[in-house]
């Protein structure tokens, strides 16, 4: 079969299935449906076995971002195959179990969705060949874990546990991402296969960053604290994510990267020391626990530490032990977690003090749990025994004291295994003796997993077949492990006997120290440190925020201005402090200097006037002078637009005044006032400097302008280049612009007509002025003249100053003048329907002109023109752009009138 296709199926099938709607009657089918997904994965993986069994490696690469050297690569080799088998195999059993464990939970489909999301992400982690892709899937597993831990979101502990797990694992993932970038900086590739093929060796810094990701994910000391808190998740989730698969992602990463750090003893040292510490710490703390899941969680921590340590040892035996233990642990810990779920299901409690004597009620469960426990304790003939023997062998090959540590750790493992098993099934019954045998749907997965735990011991080649392909990757050559229960009388066997003897003794005398160990409270724990850290970070953030988030708009503007001055002003000054500013200075005429001074006075007037009418008149003065400058500097279109907009603007301001409160002269602290002045002067200088820098010597003559100038008539048939640019060359821009403009009208309309009215407060209605006869006469007289002139401006726009914007504004001014001279009623008579309709009509005209071009197979907004000869009228030029301009005209008229009318009516 096509391997790339199969790999993508493995990863993406669960993602797509997670989106399947399970509502109504389909809800009942969610269990079998979801279980089928990992089952399909298992089938696919079994067909892939021949590809990997002899150390084969298959790559599937898609181009992703070639410019950045990013390839979307999936790789299949023995290591990823082994982990994928765990994910799919345990997945089938857990999915099956979940269906009967949470039979009555209304949110069962959601749980399955999250589980499928996790399944797909985890597959992605083990198959990703690209470090970035790996990081993406890695974080996705963190997110899935977050969702699953917080599945019972109404419980605060579940939320805390979910947050803790996410914070720690995602933080580790980010550090890992950083490591990936460092790798790219050094080797110019994100592809693991390329790195491995070149036998690249990476510096320790990168290694430590990767380890940060691996250690947080695999709950290594002191990041292990998230794992016990994660036990708030429903039990099948704990079995799947937090025992069998996700927590092993860190192990996978370490194993995968192992060849890249082959020459680095510090890499091994870091892994061995952290792994060893985790192994012992987890074992000791597990013995303290009275909650079944907490005990299993700490035992998982401990076992993960063991595997991590083995991966750090890097000998062939250690690798073999590590891989075998990964498989063993998945089987026995999965079985034990599922048993814990079954016990809770049957009795309603997980507390060891309340449990006991369940073997009579749950004989089959007891047998299954016994097998798993024996495997965990490392007793023959189970898989755990084989991997523990290998562990001892590897430890003996290192140093004697190391073997002592191994034995000590195994004694703790032995102890907590039997504390758990005996406590649940054989201890004198606690407070809740009522129980029933586990339902079949839950029992089958438990027994299957226990069966595997047994099979790995009894039929070692079975386990060997699973892990040999992965060994090939770790050892760099094809290997065939010779696993066996009986190795003969070896030192390792001696250590095993010693372990059992010591463990048995400790277990028999457990009453001497376990109760006191359980009641002892640590004065300070890592959990405490975590929550203290989080809460002090929160408190710090609140303190910091209340300092600068004052709630005063002026302060925020001040921040922005300070940032601008420092961020742009300083570098600008620094770079240009020695550059002479050469400007193409046409000497300023005297009247121009006068106009400029007047404009400056207008601007300063805006700052000084408190009364509203002088304020607006100052603003109007500035606007009028701007339009005079437009006249002076060859921009007739701009001058016309500006002066018209300015007139409408003044009317708008005057209308709005009635509703706004007057500007009060408030006492402002001297310091604040001078800061405001300093910022204002500073920003003025900044802009001046910026413009001077931008205009130095006009070094870069515009290359665009000559194109427009020479093609305006050829391509668009217009002689007014500004208008041609607006309606033709940059028609798209204009289309967007009139849309935005009409949205302003809609927003104004919506804000005034809709929403709560609130308390309008006192409105200072000016006393009605006596009607001005002169104004009325002029308004009457000019209305039609102005309208006619606006049509003229619209029509000639393509070849002479004018066009849709200007004509639209002029029409609006003509109508507004009537309103000012007469009253609102006249206005409504002139435009009896809602101006917003004009806006919509205008948008429709412009858009359909543009779409018309599409009908003829040209890009949107391509214009066509032609010159036609009409009798009487002579030569007439017809341009589709004029139609577009007509749309602009309508939008401008409608928007302007709409805004004014809406405000005036209110």
């Amino acid at each position: 079969m096509n391997v790339p296709f199969l790999l993508s199926i493995l990863i993406f099938l669960p993602f797509f299935s997670a989106a399947f709607p399970f509502s109504g009657r389909l809800r009942r089918t969610v269990g079998p449906f979801a279980t089928a997904i990992p089952a399909v994965q298992c089938l696919i993986l079994s067909t892939l076995w021949p590809d990997v069994r002899n150390g084969g490696k298959l790559l599937a690469v898609w181009t992703w971002l070639p410019d950045l050297g990013l390839r979307l690569g999936l790789a299949l080799d023995g290591l990823s195959w082994l982990f994928a088998c765990l994910i799919a195999g345990i997945g089938v059993l857990v999915f099956l179990y979940t269906a009967s464990y949470l039979q009555d939970d209304p949110h069962l489909p959601r749980l399955y969705r999250f589980l499928l999301l996790f399944n797909g992400s985890m597959m992605g982690v083990v198959f990703a060949d690209n470090l970035i892709l790996l990081s993406v899937f890695w974080e996705l597993t963190s997110i899935a874990s977050f969702l699953l831990i917080g599945f019972r979101a109404q419980r605060p502990a579940a939320c805390d546990g979910a947050t803790k797990a996410l914070l720690l694992t995602a933080a580790g993932g980010l550090v890992m991402l950083l490591a990936s970038f460092l790798v790219f900086a050094q080797h110019h590739t994100f592809d693991l296969s390329v790195l491995l093929a070149n036998s690249a060796s990476l510096p320790l810094v990168i290694g430590l960053c990767f380890l940060a990701g691996a250690f947080t994910k695999s709950a290594q000391f002191p990041f292990h604290i998230w794992l016990p808190s994660a036990m708030e998740a429903p039990t099948p989730v704990s079995a799947y994510l937090h025992a069998a698969t996700m927590v092993k992602a860190g192990l996978y990463l370490v194993a995968r990267l192992s060849p890249l750090f082959a020459g680095d003893p510090l890499w091994s040292t870091a892994i061995i020391s952290i792994g060893g510490l985790t192994l012992l710490w987890g074992g000791v703390v597990a013995c303290k626990q009275t909650d079944l899941k907490a005990l299993l969680a700490y035992s998982t921590v401990s076992q993960l530490g063991l595997i991590m340590l083995l991966l750090g040892l890097r000998t062939e035996t250690a690798f073999l032990a590590a891989l075998l233990h990964i498989v063993n642990h998945a089987a026995f810990k999965g079985a034990l977690f599922l048993t814990a779920g079954a016990v809770e299901h049957a009795t309603g409690t997980r507390n060891l003090h309340q449990l006991g004597g369940l073997w009579t009620a749950m004989p089959l469960t007891t047998v299954a749990a016994l097998l798993a426990t024996l495997s965990m304790a490392g007793l023959p003939p189970l898989g755990g025994f084989v991997s523990k023997e290998l562990f001892y062998e590897a430890a003996l090959g290192t140093a004697p004291w190391f073997a002592a540590v191994a034995v000590a750790a195994s004694v703790f493992t032995f102890l907590y295994s039997f504390l758990l098993f005996y406590g649940v099934f054989f201890a004198p019954p606690g407070e809740r003796p009522h129980a029933h045998e586990t339902p079949l749907g839950m029992l089958i997965p438990i027994m299957t997993l226990s069966g595997f735990a047994l099979a790995f011991g009894l039929v070692p080649p079975f386990a060997g077949g699973l892990i040999d392909p992965a060994m090939t990757f770790l050892c760099g050559r094809p290997t065939h492990s010779h696993l066996a229960l009986w190795h003969g009388l070896t030192p390792a066997l001696g250590l095993s006997v010693l372990t059992v003897a010591m463990g048995g003794a400790v277990f028999l005398w457990r009453d001497a120290f376990i109760p006191s160990l359980r009641t002892r409270k640590a004065p300070y724990s890592f959990d405490q440190a975590y929550s203290d850290g989080v809460s002090s970070l929160n408190a710090f953030a609140v303190r910091l925020r209340t300092r600068y988030m004052t709630g005063h708009l002026g302060d925020y503007v001040a921040y922005l201005m300070v940032a601008l001055l420092l961020g742009i002003g300083l570098p600008l000054w620094w770079f240009y402090r020695h550059t002479p500013f050469i400007l193409d200075i046409a000497p300023a005429e005297r009247y121009e200097i006068g106009l400029a001074l007047l404009m400056a006075i207008g601007g300063i007037g805006c700052c000084c006037f408190r009364a509203r009418v002088p304020l607006v008149l100052s603003l109007g003065l500035v606007g009028a002078l701007v339009s005079i400058f437009f006249v002076l500097f060859s921009a007739p279109d701009l001058a016309l637009t500006q002066i018209l907009v300015e007139s409408v603007g003044i009317v708008l301001f005057l209308l709005a005044f009635r509703f706004l409160s007057p500007i009060e002269r408030k006492p402002v602290a001297w310091g604040k006032r001078s800061l405001q002045l300093a910022l204002s002067v500073g920003s003025g200088l900044l802009v001046t400097l910026l413009l001077l820098a931008a205009n130095i010597g006009q070094l870069y003559p515009s290359v665009v302008a000559p194109f427009y100038l020479s093609n305006s008539y050829l391509l668009a048939g217009g002689r007014n280049v500004v208008n041609v640019i607006v309606v033709d060359f940059r028609g798209y821009d204009t289309m967007g612009e009139i849309t935005v403009f009409s949205v302003a009208a809609l927003a104004v309309f919506a804000m005034i007509r809709l929403g709560p009215k609130g308390n309008p407060g006192p409105i200072d209605h000016p006393p009605p002025l006596p009607p001005s006869v002169i104004l009325r006469a002029i308004a009457r007289l000019t209305l039609h003249l102005m309208l006619l002139f606006s049509v003229y401006l619209l029509l000639r726009g393509h070849n002479a100053p004018g066009g849709g914007f200007i004509a639209g504004m002029l029409t609006a001014v003509a109508v507004i003048l009537q309103m000012v001279a007469f009253d609102l009623r006249t206005f409504i008579q002139e435009i009896p329907w809602n101006p917003l309709r004009i806006v919509m009509a205008g948008l429709a005209v412009s858009a359909s002109t543009g779409l018309g071009a599409l009908c003829f197979g040209y890009p949107f907004l391509t214009s066509a023109f032609g010159h036609f000869h009409f009798p009487l009228l002579g030569e007439v030029e017809l341009v589709t752009a004029a139609l577009f301009d007509f749309g602009v005209y309508l939008v401008v008229v409608g928007t302007t009138l709409g805004i004014i009318r809406t405000i005036a009516e209110d």
């Binding site: 709630g551 005063h552 002026g554 503007v557 201005m561 400007l583 046409a586 300023a588 400029a596 400056a600 601007g603 300063i604 805006c606 509203r612 603003l619 500035v622 400058f629 437009f630 500097f633 060859s634 921009a635 007739p636 279109d637 701009l638 500006q642 907009v645 409408v648 706004l660 409160s661 009060e664 408030k666 405001q676 204002s680 920003s683 900044l686 802009v687 931008a694 515009s702 302008a705 100038l709 007014n720 280049v721 500004v722 640019i725 821009d733 204009t734 935005v740 403009f741 302003a744 009208a745 104004v748 804000m751 929403g755 709560p756 609130g758 309008p760 070849n799 002479a800 805004i899 405000i903």
Partner: protein, 110 residues
């Protein structure tokens, strides 16, 4: 000539900033309007200032740069829309909250 206009633009931006830092919404809106005047003139300057050379193909080369003019044309209209919108926003603020003074509107804790 460019120096002169650039200086005036600086004054406009300075005044605009001063107004933005004030408390009354009306002043803030006027400040914004000054900003847009300044920005339009700045665009104009960037294209070079030419007297009496409008980009109308009927008059003959050389012409003033038409591109900044086209950009400014739309900018003028847009800034009118923005001003109108801001005025209505201020008006509604007054209606709903009873004040135009941003310091009086300052939110408390959360």
């Amino acid at each position: 000539m460019e120096l002169l206009i650039i200086g005036v633009i600086g004054v406009l931006f300075g005044c605009g900033t001063y107004l933005l830092l004030q408390a009354n919404l009306l002043q803030i809106i006027v400040g914004l309007a000054l900003f847009s005047h300044g920005a339009n003139l700045a665009l104009m300057v960037s294209g070079g200032l030419k007297r009496g050379r409008p980009p109308l193909l009927t008059i003959g080369a050389p012409y003033a740069d038409p591109l900044p003019q086209a950009l400014i044309l739309t900018a003028i209209v847009i800034s009118f829309g923005v001003t109108a919108f801001a005025l209505v926003l201020a008006f509604r603020t007054k209606q709903v909250c009873g004040s135009n003074d941003v310091d009086a509107l300052a939110g408390g804790e959360e």
